[in-house]
């Protein structure tokens, strides 16, 4: 199976190789052939969510072109994948691009969703030793509708001691530009999230969206706390490391 990786701009620009690398390695181990279209950039969500739809249309067109020949597009982000599914709304008056947008949406999956729903695999043979909890990101669960896949995969990771996060359905306060436009509110939200994470006594917080992880992890670091933040791809790619 041929898979084109949509890395997302955060994993590309802000984070070191690890998340993308893990994604590639897992997919290859599960028998996929992975390519990385070099022209890819960002899904366009910052402009879309801020109401700059003319601008996000430009970005969307670029991304549609970049992935035009892909068989499957897989991304280590629920939020950015859900944005790819929103593209058709941008082209309500432009049938040609609307059709293309729909085609992209049809073949685009978030990583865990792809593994569970398309590859039909629930055990990726990972082992990770440590106390962990999981943050369900809002766009992944509510917009993309992926709730079960990450849990199914985590259940089969050996060595994982899992505690459910209290109030897991609550947003962490990231919200893209919200995190810089509404700093005082975002601060209260992320504080509450960090508090609940601490209640679980987990050493590692796992998430499937780097936006949330950058927000929660950034707050944890600023507060000098020791909980580590890891992307689910890194966990699924583990071979017996400890948290």
């Amino acid at each position: 199976m041929k898979v084109s990786l949509f890395l997302t701009c955060l994993a590309d620009v802000v984070y070191p190789a690890s998340v993308g690398r893990s994604t590639v390695e897992i997919l290859e181990r599960l028998g996929c052939e992975v390519d990385f279209p070099k022209k890819q950039t960002c899904c366009g969500q910052p402009a879309f969510n801020s109401g700059f739809h003319k601008e996000s249309r430009e970005v969307a067109k670029h991304m549609i072109k970049t992935f035009e020949s892909a068989e499957y597009v897989v991304s280590p982000s629920g939020s950015c994948t859900s944005m790819l599914h929103e593209y058709e709304k941008l082209f309500e008056d432009d049938l040609e691009w609307q059709v293309k947008a729909k085609e992209l949406a049809k073949k685009s999956y978030e990583l865990t969703q792809f593994i569970v729903d398309v590859l039909k695999i629930e055990d990726v043979g990972a082992e990770f030793n440590g106390n962990v909890t999981y943050h369900t990101s809002c766009h992944m669960t509510r917009l993309l509708g992926v709730k079960e896949a990450p849990m199914k995969l985590l259940e089969n990771v050996k060595g994982l001691k899992f505690t459910e996060l209290p109030f897991k359905q609550q947003c962490c306060g990231f919200g893209g530009t919200f995190s810089v436009k509404m700093v005082p509110i975002s601060e209260q939200m992320v504080n509450e999230k960090v508090h609940h994470i601490e209640e679980t006594e987990a050493e590692v917080l796992i998430g499937a969206d780097l936006g949330c992880l950058m927000n929660i992890g950034g707050r944890i670091d600023r507060q000098g706390k020791s909980v580590k933040v890891m992307h689910i791809a890194e966990i699924l790619n583990s071979r017996g490391e400890a948290g």
Binding site: C42, A47, F52, E55
Partner: protein
Amino acid sequence: MGIKTSNEKFFDRVEKGINDSFMRKAVVEAQGRLEGRKTQTTEELGNWEDWRDLAEEIRQHTLENLDYYLEQFVENVSNQGGHVFFAETAEEANEYITSVVKDKKAKNIIKSKSMVTEEIGMNGALEEIGCNVVESDLGEWILQLDDHDPPSHIVVPALHKNKEQIRDTFKVKRQYDKSSDPTELALFAREQLRKDFLAAEVGITGCNFAVAESGSITLVTNEGNARMSTTLPKTQITVMGMERIVPTWKELDILVSMLCRSAVGQKLTSYITGLTAAKEEGDVDGPEEFHVVIIDNGRSKILGTKFQSTLQCIRCAACINVCPVYRHVGGHSYGSIYPGPIGAVLTPLLEGYDDYKELPYASTLCAACTEACPVKIPLHELLIEHRKDIVEEAGKTSFAEKLAMKGYAFAMSNPGVYRIGSKAAPSVIGPIAKGGEGKGPGPVKLWTQIRDLPEPTGESFRKWFEGRDKKGDKS
């Protein structure tokens, strides 16, 4: 009072809210309680998603045919001797209501809970002509006693107050000398209100749903005060938003059931009151004269636009009860009698962006509201629509933001530019990643006010992938 509840700036209100620890504790408790009960009762019902589809369909159908159903309703009220007045504006509504009251030479007015009368500022208009207007909903009564403190929630208006604060208000305003025990407080309110019920010449109610096929109005309460307000006074005035119509009792049944479950997690509230026309011969109670005031006040402007679904709202507050922003800032931060997600969508539609341009941005777009809404209003999408209008039509975005977004779009659709930027990123982030409080360019400065950034250690993904490609070591 009107829709606007504060002259303070948005961020000042937010700061006040965040620092109000009593309020925040009350909100967290209330959200937990209401949301928990909602989940339980909707699960009991089963097939909740099908019910939501059905409710959406009913509301959409009604709005699509609103003129027809309104006409049918008006005709049925009139045929049974009721008086109907259609008010295009708040002023027109208040003029009519005060004229009815003057005509009756009434001084004492009793009211049951109604958001729309708050919206039009009816109490103030009646007080201006010398009336004594008493709120009979316990929460509203508390707020009224407390120097007209604005509501902070559309179902539980005094949600921001704890029982000690309520005791103190009663003490100062009504010489209450008992404890803060809720039962004692409620008993006291009941005694006090009893006199007002008996003295009232006019009763004013809101309307949860008006039934077109019979010309009836219905009220959903837990305290029974709406019944007292409609059975004792000789004249009844019901004030309703023009969208509050259901075609028949069959649809009413469905929507009431969903309203009660979504609002307070009850299968049905203690009292569901249906009233048709004034007292007839042989009736033992009820008003002798019945008026319905149907309010437009900006609603017809919303009909037929991309915001039409806003009018599907049945004011259950489920969106408010799950909102993580409301949770931390409380209702008063919105500066409107309509707070939370529905408030952030509805208020700018009714009042414009001038005073409320921040509201559409006071959301992470987490979509908890959209998921909770029993009539499937896509609230978070409507917030984006507002943002779009603010950018494209209202011209209320700063030059800097416009420029930034243009630059963003340029970089993101030109991979060469994007690559230059991303190669530079580590050198920008590196020095400020840890503890760089308020440091960095543009929005990064705002980010680092409260958070660190990931440290740019090790090679980038692109480098790793390229290196691997060269070595040809794909496993």
